[in-house]
């Protein structure tokens, strides 16, 4: 039997707006994935470490405070340093469209913007996680 997809949903930085993160965590769970939610106020180091320890396939980052350009790339960078670049990192929140190209260049594979449905995200994950 195939292993379930494992996802870490994380809130980097000081932002406390976790409605979206929690809704997505629950929707992914309902879609049959194993989901770990970090809670709020995590540093990029904490998130990368949790991702490795929990042996997840993906990390979903949520930020609504505007700190994404600083924090999202750091998560990817630390994962690379720790030889865990196979973990796919995606993100969402209040992210201006003009920031998306830079974030993708830094290794965040996809950005979901306000109005994205949980269905879109589930579909993306299923299509992009290796060996499922």
């Amino acid at each position: 039997m195939a292993r379930k997809i494992r996802v870490l949903i994380a809130k980097p930085g000081l932002d406390g707006h976790d409605r979206g993160a929690k809704v997505i965590a629950r929707a992914l769970r309902d879609a049959g994935m194993e989901v770990i939610y970090t809670g709020i106020r995590q540093t990029p180091e904490q998130i990368a470490n949790a991702a490795i320890q929990e042996d997840v396939d993906l990390v979903g980052l949520s930020s609504l405070s505007g700190a994404h350009n600083n924090l999202f790339p750091k998560v990817v960078q630390i994962l690379r340093e720790k030889k865990a670049e196979d973990i796919l990192v995606f993100g969402g929140g209040i992210i201006p469209v003009d920031d998306i190209a830079g974030l993708k260049k830094a290794g965040i594979r996809e950005i979901f913007q306000p109005g994205a449905s949980t269905e879109d995200i589930i579909k993306y994950i299923k299509e992009n996680v290796k060996s499922f």
Binding site: V23, R26, I40, A67, I94, P96, Q113, G115
Partner: protein
């Protein structure tokens, strides 16, 4: 002989209604509000026949304040138009305040950045990327002096959205006023200071709940003597609603938090009538127009009863629920942002029908970023249109007596009270938060709401129906990364220029007071006056109180 309403209603259903429904069925069955209240098709005198007018509605300015807290409401003075604003540096935010005041805004409302809200200076590693982003960055009294430069603090009222560091920002505000030659006794404004909802929803807590509650009650006691016109707390449902709870839950969780503050203050020996009139509230106004109007009226009545019956308040002012309203940020869409202007107008109108004391209208571009100057002006104009053109401000509680509004007011009050009793049985709000009950209820409602949108059971215009191909908004406010460097440099120069010995002494005194039982606000005031930083003061308290970790 006049016809009997009940008989006539039955006849209408049988003859007229059933005929119509058999030809064309209704759009939904049943119709429900966002709080899962099943709506009747038609409300009639039968739905309000049991109500005791003088006891349950009464007259504005009198217990139980269902119809409003002032006898003349907006015929006397319009609500305070107060746009929540703050971004980047104190220098830039000061300019925005002056712009808003020039355009007819009548009160200030300060948005602080997250480091300021969580007790970190701009140069702290955890402030990386957050400085000046969701609000203005304040590190020391110097920043506060710049923020209010040229704004006479005896002429404006200022609301500050600040919670775990509320005592520090209040102290800085008082210190700036003193420099302007203004005594704290005449200052008017509000600090949010509602720490409980931070654990439940918003997340800017620092210390554990009991220690936080001590700071809250210390602020009550300090302001009672030193700032008697200051609202010492703004008990907030807004953020729980934004996190996803329903209208009924918003009333229930907010009032339950309010009860926890009253209990805490009474426990430390304050007389209920000495502080209760300085308690203010803050609610959200979401899309469902009639339910929202009823919500405000129900909250007012329920709080009045709780204060009188449970806490034995003697003064009418102690029973008066005065509130600020903000339109629902979470209702705004990135799709077709102009639609947000219309959404906000309806929400603002509902808040006015609900009898709000002050109002923030959200801007059309807030699903993208903090608003631009132009979009804030339009949001302010929306309030001015309601105030000056619509005529709804010319009567007190004009929807009072509407069968539907009164029936929903009753229903929301009843359902909210059921929740309050449930929370009581758990041992009160703090216990219900510590056990995760409140967070669980909010999360459940948020998830159901999202599922309804995705299943198109709930239509959001432009999002899941009536979509168009469109380009995302690009003309948005951007906070430059240089802001962080600028703040750090300014902080370093303040630290260089101040008397560090005095700072150390002030922090030692603060630590001693925090370890004991004396009021922490006076030593905080002394510390800010010698330019101790917000981070230094918060760290001193962290050493004594410890830090809260989300469970």
């Amino acid at each position: 002989m006049p016809k009997n309403i009940r008989d006539e209603f039955g006849r209408w259903e049988k003859n007229t209604l059933n005929k119509a429904i058999s030809k064309s069925p209704e759009r939904e069955s049943p119709f429900k509000t966002t709080s899962h209240i099943e709506l009747k098709r038609l409300y009639t005198p039968l739905d309000v026949s049991d109500s005791d007018y003088c006891g349950e509605l009464g007259f504005p300015g009198e217990f139980p304040f269902t119809r409003g807290v002032q006898p003349t409401m907006y015929r006397g003075r319009l609500w305070t138009m107060r746009q929540y604003a703050g971004f980047a540096t104190p220098e830039e935010t000061n300019k925005r305040y002056k712009y808003l005041l020039e355009h007819g805004q009548t009160g200030l409302s300060v948005a602080f950045d997250l480091p300021t809200q969580i007790g970190y200076d701009s140069d702290h590693p955890l402030s990386d990327g957050e400085v000046g982003k969701v609000g203005v960055a304040i590190d020391t009294l110097k920043d506060m002096e710049i923020l209010f430069d040229g704004i006479p603090l005896d002429k404006v009222s200022t609301s500050m959205t600040i919670n775990s560091t509320a005592a520090i920002l209040l102290a800085m505000y008082i210190a700036v006023a003193e420099k302007q030659g203004i005594q704290s006794e005449i200052l008017q404004g509000t600090i949010q200071n509602d720490i409980l909802k931070e654990y439940a929803a918003r997340g800017t807590y620092i210390y554990p709940p009991l220690e936080s509650m001590r700071i809250v009650t210390d602020i009550f006691a300090f302001c009672k003597d030193r700032a008697p016109r200051w609202n010492t707390i703004s008990i907030s449902g807004y953020h729980m609603r934004e996190a996803g709870c329903t209208a009924v839950q918003e009333v229930a969780f907010t009032l339950a938090d309010g009860m926890a503050y009253v209990e805490a203050a009474i426990r430390v020996g304050l007389d209920v009538d000495s502080f209760a009139s300085r308690l203010a509230f803050f609610f959200c106004c979401h899309n469902t127009f009639i339910e929202e109007i009823a919500k405000f009226r129900a909250a007012r009545r329920l709080w009045a009863k709780i204060m009188k019956e449970r806490f034995k308040a003697k003064r009418d002012e102690s029973c008066m629920l005065r509130f600020h309203t903000q339109t629902a940020g979470c209702s705004l869409t990135a799709q077709q942002p102009d639609n947000n202007v219309v959404r906000v107008a309806f929400q603002a109108l509902a808040a006015v029908f609900g009898g709000t004391q002050s109002l923030h209208t959200n801007s059309r571009d807030e699903a993208y970023a903090l608003p631009t100057e132009g979009s804030v002006r339009l949001a302010l104009r929306t309030q001015q249109l309601i105030a000056y053109e619509s005529g709804v401000a010319d009567m007190v509680d004009p929807l009072g007596g509407s069968y539907a509004v009164e029936a929903l007011t009753d229903e929301i009050e009843k359902k909210a009270m059921e929740y309050v009793e449930k929370i009581d049985a758990m041992g009160g709000s703090i216990k219900a938060i510590e056990s995760g009950y409140i967070q669980g209820e909010i999360g459940e409602s948020a998830y159901q709401y999202q599922k309804e949108i995705e299943a198109k059971k709930r239509i959001i215009v432009g999002l899941n129906q009536f979509q168009i191909g469109e380009e995302p908004l690009r003309d948005i406010l951007r906070i430059k990364p240089e802001v962080e460097q600028y703040q750090k440099k300014k902080l370093a120069s303040v630290k260089n220029e101040r008397n560090n010995l005095k700072v150390r002494e002030a922090l030692v005194v603060l630590k001693k007071v925090a370890q004991g039982t004396d009021n922490v606000v006076p030593p905080i005031l002394e510390a800010v006056k010698v330019y101790a930083t917000l981070g230094e003061i918060s760290d001193t308290l962290r050493e004594v109180f410890g830090e809260y970790k989300e469970r």
